[in-house]
């Protein structure tokens, strides 16, 4: 046993004298380069940047409406959630341009006048397999919009929409932080985030298999 150890030492000593420095250097170069590639370049490559068709000022609109978010983002009579407003709702005020903002003018000319729906890019868009009930969260659980959507109502302009090339998901589902860490409840919208809150609040923990949330609560 001891002989082999000695031999190993000897061998590495030999190597050191040759090109040990180079080896360590290259190791560091490889290490750092791949870290940079993984942490900085990869996320940039993974997401494509898309601009919203119209820039929207939530603050401005919040001042004008009485009912807060629900003024435009409302429930239908059957309890389903209408989500982002359709042209129909906007036209109520914007039949003609109300102000002089070029974005509004664009909106009126390009969409209202031509009766085309605005192809908004939805930051919080969940994939097709998800069934999400706003009514359950807002009406029954009494949650605020902010809890999941963040303070978007306080924004004066729409941020760039980032779309994952591979999955087609919005960046907001994984979150801005590539390591998947989050600070606020609204930083990520992956399944684990839903599950975490459901476990915390003991929501429908009726799965026989996992003793946690049953799959059909949020999947369709």
């Amino acid at each position: 046993m001891s002989t082999s150890e000695e031999k190993t030492k000897e061998v590495s000593a030999n190597a050191d004298s040759d090109s040990g420095g180079a080896i360590i250097l290259f190791f560091i170069i490889g290490f750092v380069a791949s870290l940079i590639a993984g942490w900085i370049i990869f996320p940039k490559l993974l997401y494509c940047q898309k601009k919203q068709p119209i820039d929207f000022n939530h603050v401005l609109h919040m001042e004008e409406v009485d009912d807060g978010c629900e003024s435009c983002h409302f429930f239908r009579e059957d309890g389903t959630y209408a989500g982002v407003p359709k042209l129909e709702q906007c036209v109520g005020c914007h039949e003609e341009a109300v102000g002089e903002d070029p974005e509004e003018v664009k909106f009126v000319n390009e969409y209202v006048a031509k009766e085309r729906e605005v192809p908004w890019l939805i930051y919080s868009k969940q994939p097709d397999c998800v069934f999400f009930s706003h009514a359950a969260h807002v009406k029954t659980a009494g949650m605020d919009c902010v809890t999941c959507h963040g303070p978007i109502g306080e924004s004066t302009s729409l941020k760039v929409y980032e779309e994952n090339w591979i999955t087609g998901y919005s960046r907001d589902i994984w979150g801005q932080n590539m390591s998947g860490l989050k600070e606020h409840a609204w930083d990520r919208m992956k399944m684990d985030d839903c599950a975490e809150c459901h476990v915390k609040n003991n929501v429908k923990q009726t799965s026989v298999q996992t003793k946690k949330g049953a799959c059909f609560v949020c999947h369709k």
């Binding site: 046993m1 031999k7 061998v11 298999q209």
Partner: protein
């Protein structure tokens, strides 16, 4: 040309012959790879599986190669844990065969699942109640162990061995091989068993279902047992084939005979256990679900009583009796007959436990479902065979797999 790579003191065929051999087997391999790519790109509609045959040829192949690869863990167990030192002369080959079998099993699984890119869900979203989860974990772990056991062999190649680091690594790994062998044996007992459990727990399938202890149905133990019994037989068989192909004696008879004897006794005890299991199942378990044994073996063109007799008597009792008698195992022909029968027997058992389970109608108004694999399934099942032959060929040529080769075949 490649003489620098060939171990010292042994004779190998000319490189040209070897390359030709590789090319022929490689063509078969490519055919299999083509079929595999078809299955990945176009989906499993390339197979003849259907909604009654969710498990078919591939799962059989998986179960069969793992059973046949059982020689690795059991020989390792005998060598390192029990201390049958003679077996060091065949352990390398047993490990290689095991490595081939297990890597093949993993490859086949990767083709068999409908969504290969989601394959990792079995680990990440594991359901601990599922036998398949147990299989996946143990299988991957044991494959890792086999890899670790195989690596030192590779490092013993003449050129690799020249690198001091590799030399030492290899040496050190040999030193601690007993630990890996023990781990491997432990893991193997489990996943061989859980493969048996895969069918045994299906309480909706009276043909496959077995009672058992705690969460483990009797098939759990029977599978481990049969793999331990028949795996070494397969190792012997492949050794004999290799000897025939290379026209050289590679392992001494006493080593083979020792392994054969142990296998024989394992097989005999397995035969007894399997018979008791079958009897209990036929007279208690199945009738409680409304089935006579004859319901499972009549009324269809393939699965008749012959299969039961072949599996248990012809391929179970007969080889066991041959192997436990000294004359039987000393006679070359009868030894080969016995190991062939044992290998067929365990494969047939796996076939029955997969394919016949699917074929037997359970609802009274349902029909027997018959199945014949598509060429894509056959090609992808032959693929691992070709891969195995190639790997054995290369390993044998360049690695000192058989420690006794030099002694048995002195070079002039």
């Amino acid at each position: 040309m490649d003489s620098a790579l060939i171990p010292k003191g042994v004779r190998r065929c000319p490189l040209g012959h070897f390359v030709l051999f590789l090319a022929v087997v490689g063509a078969v391999l490519l055919w299999g790879v083509f079929a595999m790519v078809l299955c990945w790109i176009k989906g499993l509609n390339q197979t003849n599986m259907n909604d009654y045959y969710g498990f078919a040829l591939w799962i059989w192949a998986d179960l069969a190669v793992i059973a046949l690869g059982g020689g690795a863990f059991f020989t390792g167990f005998l060598r390192y844990i029990i201390g049958k030192d003679e077996l060091k002369n065949i352990i390398n080959y047993a490990v290689l065969i095991g490595f081939i079998c297990y890597s093949s099993a993993l490859l086949i699984l990767a083709i068999d699942i409908g969504q290969p890119l989601r394959g990792w869900f079995i680990f990440w979203h594991a359901n601990v109640h599922s036998m398949l989860t147990e299989v996946a974990f143990c299988l991957s772990c044991y494959f890792a162990v086999l890899t670790i056991e195989y690596i030192p062999l590779i490092l013993e190649n003449r050129q690799a061995d020249k690198v001091p680091f590799f030399h030492n690594l290899s040496h050190n790994m040999h030193e601690i091989m007993a630990v890996f062998a023990a781990t491997g044996a432990f893991l193997s007992f489990f996943h061989q068993g859980s493969l048996g459990g895969v069918t045994g727990v299906l309480f909706g399938r009276p043909f496959g279902f077995r009672e058992g202890v705690f969460i483990w149905p009797w098939t759990f133990f029977l599978f481990t047992w049969s793999a331990a019994a028949c795996g070494p037989c397969f190792t012997i068989l492949v050794t004999k084939i290799t000897e025939a192909v290379t026209k050289k004696k590679l392992v001494k008879d006493n080593v083979i005979e020792l392994l054969a004897k142990i296998s024989g006794w394992m097989l005999l005890t397995y035969f007894v256990a399997k018979t008791i299991d079958t009897w209990y199942w036929a007279s208690v378990t199945a009738p409680s679900m409304g089935f006579f044994l004859s319901d499972f073996y009549t009324g269809n063109p393939l699965y008749g009583w012959w299969i039961l007799v072949t599996e248990i008597v012809v391929c179970g009792l007969v080889p066991a009796l041959i192997l436990i008698t000294e004359r039987g195992r000393k006679n070359k022909t009868s030894l080969v007959v016995a190991v062939v029968l044992a290998s067929i027997g365990v494969s047939l058992n796996r076939w029955v436990m997969v394919l016949q389970v699917m074929a037997v109608p359970v609802m009274s108004f349902d029909n027997w479902a018959m199945y014949f694999p598509s060429w894509q399934e056959i090609a992808t099942t032959i693929l691992p065979v070709a891969y195995g032959i190639i790997l054995i060929g290369i390993s044998h040529r360049y690695l000192p797999i058989f420690p006794q080769e030099k002694e048995l075949n002195p070079v002039d």
